[in-house]
């Protein structure tokens, strides 16, 4: 397991306390899990994805990640409609381990982009991790 100072936590994305991240890309938001989350889970062997067109409110469960150790729920950091899922993960779930930031999970069209303000920046997220 990585030490906190070894974690890769980019500056340009928003983090949730559930260890998901959200990144604005034009009108849409990409969602994935943080380096901390993938490191804690260990080798990911299966990703259960939602369907395109599904709608969620911030904090809703939108899928699951199965590692060799456990199955974990995925919670959406910002409400909206799913406009794409990363289909590459169906055959290659290990992409999330290899790089959790290029290994995005879903792309959403947010209902209210302002919800991003409620999420954590890199420093605030680091504080949360130090508390765990």
């Amino acid at each position: 397991m990585k030490e906190i100072n070894e974690l890769n936590l980019p500056e340009d994305i928003h983090y949730s306390e559930d260890h998901e991240w959200a990144k604005v890309t034009g009108d849409t938001v990409l969602v994935g899990i943080s380096d901390y989350a993938q490191d804690q889970l260990g080798d990911i062997v299966f990703v259960e994805l939602p369907e395109v067109g599904d709608s969620f409110e911030a904090g809703d469960e939108f899928g699951t990640l199965e590692s060799v150790k456990a199955v974990s729920e995925l919670y959406i950091p910002i409400g909206g409609e799913v406009i794409a899922v990363n289909e590459e993960l169906e055959d290659a779930p290990e992409l999330v381990n290899q790089d959790p930031y290029s290994g995005w999970i879903i792309e959403i069209k947010p209902d209210d982009i302002g919800e991003l303000e409620k999420l954590l920046d890199r420093d605030a997220y680091l504080e949360v991790l130090r508390g765990e």
Partner: protein, 444 residues
């Protein structure tokens, strides 16, 4: 492993260790209303010889003894159990090992379970089979819950009324605390399930049929699966007599998505209605939603073949309330028994035995019809069928019991309007003379 009760001294040591005075204090956290506050009225213990004598007395009071020929199936089937089965199963490594899932300790049992899964998958025509459920009825309830997990947004399921009434009762018990709705599908004149109104039902996650059904009738699973898929639901095919698949096409090969049922026929005695064996399999795409344990084959550090539990992350000891099921165990003894039975008979043996059941059953069906009874359903049957008698059959039945034959099950108990209709079962164990006696008694 030995099973020894605690002595008073053992109990005192344990009480002292945790600092409680007595049982009263130990169970104080259990709400008062949930505790039994009276003295247990248990009879005095008996010596071994007086217990033997007592059991002998009870036996002599029973109307039906092991010497009787029983022409009733209805979920429990009297098949011959080859002497090799109890002999091999009697080995203590198989018989006394409780939940032996530690791969470093239990390669023999795990391999046995793996072989069971392989044989079951072939018999049922499914991609994957689990290491068993408790019995056919709970297997069906779990299959329907699985259907609702797969079809997440739906909240309704449909059940054929030709499914064993006890199976349907268990399903109702499982579903009672949920908000899911159960729709009942009636049967047609020929004894098969009526699927014509399926199109009018909305939001069905799964539709369940039994084949052969409770009336012994073989359902057209191929057509049913197509009709069920048409409305976007999963087709669940259950069974109470797996021997039928020695002769008829397996439910999986007919397009059923989940196949489940009772495996008692495969080397397990009828007993008093239990224990049973829940056989369960499905398409590979649904494997992560399948309840129960799964044994997989792997390689150890030296590259040698070995067996381990696989996909355990779905289960309750890891996933708690989010688990695919609350069954985290399996019917180890019955499962291994069934594996030994299937392996002993082989494909050819199963086919021959199934044929024998079918032929004997057809012999009685034809004979009863010639004796004046009416065959209620025109669809093909396996080793069970329903006939209706012109005159009150209960008197004839009583006479046959006196001759050592228990002939048929009165269906009016289960289905209103089925007065004087009886469900008969003939397995390989019933001699021809017995069938002739029944036919001639009906003729009188």
């Amino acid at each position: 492993m030995r099973y020894l009760p605690h002595t008073e001294a053992d109990i005192k040591v344990m009480f002292d260790a945790i600092g409680v005075k007595d049982f009263e204090e130990l169970f104080r956290t259990v709400p008062e209303a949930c505790r039994y506050d009276r003295v247990m009225e248990l009879p005095e213990s008996k010596t071994e010889w007086s217990l033997d004598q007592y059991m002998g007395e009870v036996r002599s009071m029973m109307t039906v003894t092991p010497a009787h020929s029983v022409l009733i199936g209805a979920g429990r089937y009297r098949h011959h159990i080859p002497a090799t089965i109890p002999n091999v199963m009697g080995r203590s490594e198989f018989l006394t090992a409780y939940t032996p899932y530690q791969p470093e300790m239990a390669q023999g049992t795990l391999q046995g379970l793996f072989e069971y899964q392989t044989l079951t998958a072939r018999l049922l025509g499914v991609d994957v089979a689990n290491a068993s459920m408790y019995d056919g009825a709970t297997g069906l309830a779990e299959a329907l819950l699985m259907g609702l997990r797969v079809e997440k947004k739906k909240t309704r399921i449909a059940l054929s009324t030709a499914i064993h009434p006890h199976f349907r009762d268990v399903v109702a018990t499982y579903f009672q605390p949920t908000d899911y709705e159960i729709v009942e599908l009636p049967s047609l004149e020929d004894g098969r399930t009526d699927l014509s109104r399926l199109g009018a039902e909305e939001g069905l996650a799964a539709v369940a049929l039994q084949s052969p059904n409770f009336f012994g009738v073989v359902e057209d699973i191929e057509a049913a699966a197509a009709a069920v898929h048409e409305v976007g639901a999963l087709c669940v095919a259950c069974f109470s007599e797996p021997l039928a698949f020695g002769l008829f096409k397996s439910p999986g090969s007919c397009g059923a998505d989940i196949v489940c049922g009772e495996g008692q026929s495969l080397g397990i005695p009828v007993s008093f209605g239990g224990p049973g064996l829940g056989m369960f399999g499905c398409r590979e795409t649904f494997v992560r939603n399948m309840p129960g344990r799964l044994v997989g084959e792997t390689k150890d550090l030296d590259g040698k073949r070995g067996y381990v539990l696989t996909l355990s992350t779905r289960e309750q000891h890891i996933r708690r309330e989010k688990a695919t099921s609350n069954i985290c165990s399996n019917q180890g003894i019955c499962t291994l028994t069934a594996a030994m039975y299937m392996a002993s008979l082989g494909g050819t043996g199963l086919r021959k035995l199934a044929r024998l059941n079918y032929d004997k059953s057809e012999y009685l069906k034809k004979g009863l019809q010639e004796a004046g009874a009416r065959c209620c359903f025109s669809a093909p049957t396996f080793n069970e069928f329903v006939v209706e008698f012109k005159h009150d059959f209960s008197k004839t039945r009583k006479k046959l019991v006196e001759q050592g034959i228990v002939a048929g099950l009165d269906l009016a108990r289960f289905y209103p309007g089925f007065e004087n209709r009886y469900l008969f079962c003939v397995t390989e164990t019933v001699p021809k003379e017995v069938l002739d006696s029944v036919i001639s008694e009906v003729k009188k």
